[in-house]
């Protein structure tokens, strides 16, 4: 089984659980519900709740999505998830400037623990008071537009939008290999 692991992180309420649920909804093959599920196992062995979603798109190919736990902060559980991730997306609710600093903290922690690529997903851009991408990037500490991770807009409630965000993350992470083979 070939597995890609993506971590979905961000402040509480950003849309992590919804995002992951939206991908799990498009799970096509549910071949394997046995206890080999790594996420279930970790869950069983710890009391930490984290979101897990799976998208199986071939007999031996699956995408696993992990949401960073909301109630614990920056602990070993986060670290286990990050260390195993191929890439991650930081979700930020565009209409909640209150959370921008927390998003920045999370980003600093992630960067410190893992060098893998990341993108920023702006959720709640359809809500009143939403800031635009350029200003949120500034608030997250990226004054230079040419030197920041890709910023995409995503509505965690919409499967199509989440699929688009995952594509963006995959393409950003593997731009080399995807370009070479397609």
């Amino acid at each position: 089984m070939e597995i890609m692991r993506l971590v979905v992180t961000g402040p509480v309420g950003a849309g992590k659980s919804t995002f992951i649920r939206s991908v799990s909804e498009i799970e096509v093959v549910d071949t394997d519900r046995r206890a080999t599920d790594e996420a279930l196992l970790i869950k069983k062995r710890t009391t930490v709740a984290f979101d897990f979603g799976r998208l199986q798109f071939g007999p031996d190919m699956a995408l696993h999505l992990y949401g960073t736990p909301g109630q614990s902060r920056f602990d070993f559980m986060w670290d286990i998830l990050i260390q195993k991730a191929h890439a991650y997306i930081l979700l930020v609710a565009a209409h909640r400037p209150h959370e921008f600093r927390e998003a920045r903290r999370i980003m600093m922690f992630m960067k410190q623990r893992s060098p893998v690529p990341m993108i920023i997903g702006l959720t709640h851009t359809d809500c009143p008071g939403a800031w635009d991408a350029a200003n949120i990037a500034l608030a997250l500490g990226y004054p230079n537009p040419s030197r920041r991770p890709p910023v995409v807009t995503v509505n965690a409630n919409e499967t199509a939008s989440v699929a688009q965000a995952v594509i963006a993350l995959v393409q950003h992470t593997w731009s080399g290999s995807l370009a070479a083979t397609s």
């Binding site: 070939e2 597995i3 890609m4 692991r5 498009i26 096509v28 080999t36 790594e38 196992l41 970790i42 062995r45 798109f57 190919m61 995408l63 614990s72 902060r73 920056f74 602990d75 070993f76 670290d79 286990i80 260390q83 195993k84 991730a85 191929h86 909640r96 400037p97 209150h98 921008f100 600093r101 920045r104 903290r105 999370i106 600093m108 922690f109 410190q112 623990r113 893992s114 893998v116 008071g129 800031w131 635009d132 350029a134 200003n135 500034l138 608030a139 004054p143 499967t159 199509a160 699929a163 688009q164 995952v166 594509i167 995959v170 593997w174 290999s177 995807l178 070479a180 083979t181 397609s182």
Partner: protein
């Protein structure tokens, strides 16, 4: 697009940092929330040009600076008005008056201090307020002395003078977080001795609480200093790993667990194949 919100959510130091780093030009308006006793609200205006503060005032009638000059007794209201009309359209009023020999450089400095430094620094004490930044507002020549202040300098001054930090509590770096420098070399800002001391620890390893112990300063004070270093673009808060896994959680004794994730120590994820990537993207595209 405009930037709007409440200071309780996005604080004035953060806002100044954003406007400075974004090289913004326009008008920042802060509307205080209705006072429970008097039900009065006040507007404060701060004009930015390319990320720097060029003027401040309480009205948009373009008569604030003239009023300040008149109040100093340097010139009557009418006299200033008349002279102002002879100024070139693009010249700040203060500079124009200086060029005409009516005001000295010292007087301009004093005006700027009263208009910008004193008024704006006082705003850091606001517990809340609604703000809006309008990037389309015209440049207020009649309110400008011609002098400028960097948002960073104003923030430093405002936060150094701040007595009650309650409103900023959530914004301060956690005592368990470290600080990490985000600049090359040493800061160009004029830091005070305590700020320098804390600056020496911006290497991403020592928790703020330990820095406080080391420096023999209260933790809250170090948090406040750290916040100043953060919002002036010198450092960033770096959350440190919380406690190590409880020994009961021996993840690697789970044979059924996929080996790579079970051994929490080995870093990195196994590479995925090109066909995997193509299949995945193809599948996702069918969902879009």
């Amino acid at each position: 697009m405009t930037v709007t919100g409440y200071l309780a959510d996005f604080s004035l130091p953060e806002l100044f940092q954003l406007l400075e780093q974004g090289n913004k030009t326009g008008l920042l308006t802060i509307c205080t929330l209705a006072d429970t006793k008097t039900a009065e609200r006040y507007n404060h205006h701060i004009w930015f040009s390319q990320g720097q503060i060029v003027a401040a005032g309480n009205t948009l009638d373009q008569r604030g600076l003239m009023g300040l000059i008149a109040r100093r007794g340097w010139m009557g209201d009418n006299a200033v008005s008349r002279l102002a009309q002879t100024c070139q359209i693009n010249t700040p009023l203060g500079l124009c008056l200086k060029n005409q020999g009516v005001l000295t450089a010292e007087q301009l400095k004093l005006l700027f201090y009263t208009q910008v430094m004193r008024q704006v620094c006082a705003l850091f004490a606001l517990p809340d307020g609604w703000f809006q930044f309008d990037p389309k507002a015209p440049t207020p020549r009649a309110e400008m002395t011609g002098l400028i202040a960097t948002a960073t300098d104003v923030t430093l001054a405002g936060l150094r003078a701040l007595k009650d930090w309650a409103a900023l509590d959530e914004k301060l770096p956690a005592p368990t977080s470290a600080l990490v420098s985000v600049i090359e070399g040493k800061p160009n800002l004029r830091l005070n001795p305590n700020e320098w001391q804390v600056w020496e620890f911006t290497n991403g390893t020592m928790a703020v609480a330990d820095v406080a112990k080391q420096l023999n300063l209260p933790v809250a004070k170090v948090q406040q200093i750290a916040f100043r270093l953060i919002v002036t673009g010198l450092a960033e808060e770096m959350p440190l790993m919380a406690a190590p896994p409880p020994s009961s959680l021996a993840l690697d004794d789970a044979p059924e667990l996929e080996p790579s994730i079970a051994s929490g120590k080995t870093a990195g994820a196994a590479p995925v194949s090109a066909s995997f990537l193509q299949n995945l993207v193809g599948f996702l595209k069918s969902k879009v």
